[in-house]
């Protein structure tokens, strides 16, 4: 009875479970963030994908070929792709900084919708200035190919064919139509491919195409590690607590569903 009143008057019907998961995640994230701010950060294990970026940058310095860095051709700043975009931006900053420090050339392919163009351009310029090498910033290396995934696919492939590829770091919202062909060609040209996407349908592509693949929420972990910020890393670890709660819920609900059948299913309809 009490639950029904809560659901009908405070939470919209059908969203009670979403609300519960949101509150648990919110609580865990705030707790671990607060702990890190107080000087008790949570360790995040070293990801081989992030360590490989250094190898890719060194390779670019040795070969004189560029590194391609992108948050994915579908990097929107709204909706379900926004978190992937934000994680990807941390990777772009990390890679750009390392490349500029060591004197490697970077090329930033802009996603199809150009929303992130000012951000990518700003990151490139600011990192170059912050590292004391403003001449490393080249406006023409922030390239927008057009609003469709075909533009991105063909445009980026042609740039890779012209300029060569030492390394490609694509971490974020990547599409099959916009990114798979250029990444495949990056490999064909001998480039080291690092990255992946949190988009479910493309996990197989990245398993095949990437030397250091990121699967699903690896993308977020890579972003957190590249931020080099203990607070960000700790918040990411906090997400694990929420995952354990969800896992426990799956087990409990599965057990209850076997025993009770109908009534437990009603919880999902609240």
């Amino acid at each position: 009875m009490l639950t029904n009143i809560f659901v009908e008057q405070v939470i919209e019907s059908g969203k009670a479970l979403d609300f519960f998961v949101f509150i648990v995640t919110l609580g865990a994230t705030i707790y671990y963030t607060w702990q890190a701010i107080q000087g008790h950060p949570q360790p995040l294990r070293e990801l081989p994908q992030v360590a490989a970026i250094s190898e890719g940058v060194d390779r670019a310095v040795e070969t004189g070929m560029p590194i391609y860095v992108s948050p994915g051709d579908m990097a929107y700043l709204s909706g379900m792709y926004a978190p992937m975009t934000l994680a990807g931006m941390n990777v772009v900053r990390y890679t750009s900084r390392m490349a500029i420090q060591r004197g490697a050339r970077i090329i930033l392919p802009v996603p199809c919708n150009a929303e992130t163009a000012p951000l990518l351009d700003g990151i490139f310029r600011e990192v170059a200035v912050a590292e004391g090498k403003p001449e490393a910033y080249r406006r023409e290396d922030v390239i927008w190919f057009g609003p469709d995934q075909g533009h991105h696919s063909m445009g980026l492939t042609s740039v890779i064919a012209r300029e060569g590829c030492a390394c490609a770091v694509f971490n974020g919202a990547c599409r099959g139509g916009g990114t798979n062909s250029p990444i495949g060609w990056a490999r064909e040209y001998g480039g080291l491919v690092i990255g992946g996407t949190a988009r479910l349908l493309h996990q197989g592509s990245w398993a095949m195409l990437s030397d250091y693949p990121c699967f699903m929420d690896d993308v977020y972990a890579m972003g957190a590690e590249c931020s080099e910020d203990d607070v960000v890393k700790s918040a990411q670890v906090g997400g694990d607590l929420a995952k354990l709660v969800v896992l426990a819920m799956v087990v409990i609900f599965a057990a209850l569903a076997i025993v009770l059948r109908e009534p437990i299913l009603d919880i999902f309809n609240m």
Partner: protein
């Protein structure tokens, strides 16, 4: 008194994003509320307006890059006439189609659609053929390099057998094996992946709302 770049380029935008995100979260969970629904509708409209500005920015940097390349007569490794021709093709097409749209009553007019379909759309058909590279990659990089890649190959093989009637006719159980792989282990793995990714996305969203996500806006050269 000078205003810090950090203030107007990071703190104020992050604060505004936090407010807007908070409104959307409340609107999502609360039972239908007319004023709140109208507010989120208005905010969505402004989001579209801002998106249009970024699209204009993208077109501007594309045009500027092409002009710069034509003036310098250099496009990557290409120099001289080839560099100029590449830039001129892009710029010329943009100019011609802009004039065509203005002269014929917009991008939905019959004349514009005719020229667009028979030049651009057909050319686009050509560049989409590059997607043939997808299956090429699949076959080239499918290798038994680990337990995970071997499992992936076996799953792909049995799903392929299910889709090819020749194999199903030879041994009908191929159909059941493929369907079982798709509906049981594949579905279970997909649910687990979606759950973890969804929670990871919420964590990043919360970090962005409380202003602790450097990926959103970070300023180094203050």
């Amino acid at each position: 008194m000078s205003i810090s770049k950090l203030l107007y380029q990071r703190r104020i935008p992050t604060f505004l994003v936090s407010i807007v995100a908070g409104i959307f979260i409340v609107e999502y969970f609360l039972p239908y509320n007319v004023p709140l629904a109208d507010l989120t509708k208005e905010l969505t409209l402004w989001g579209t307006i801002l998106y249009s500005c970024s699209l204009l920015y993208g077109i501007t940097i594309l045009v500027m890059t092409m002009i710069r390349r034509a003036i310098r007569r250099r496009s990557g490794k290409f120099t001289g006439f080839r560099a100029v021709a590449m830039s001129a093709t892009c710029l010329g097409t943009a100019v011609v189609f802009t004039i065509l749209a203005l002269a014929t009553g917009g991008t939905t007019s019959t004349t514009f659609r005719f020229w667009y379909t028979y030049i651009i759309a057909y050319a686009a058909g050509g560049f989409y053929s590059a997607w043939v590279h997808h299956p090429y990659n699949s076959y080239r990089y499918f290798r038994f390099t680990s337990i995970a890649s071997s499992m992936m190959f076996i799953a792909w093989l049995f799903i392929s057998f299910r889709e090819l009637s020749f194999f199903v006719a030879l041994w009908p159980t191929f159909y059941d094996i493929g369907t079982w792989i798709e509906t049981v282990p594949n579905t279970a793995a997909q649910r687990a992946m979606l759950a973890t990714t969804g929670l990871g996305a919420i964590v990043i969203g919360i970090r962005a709302i409380v202003g602790r996500e450097p990926g959103m806006i970070e300023v180094e050269a203050v």
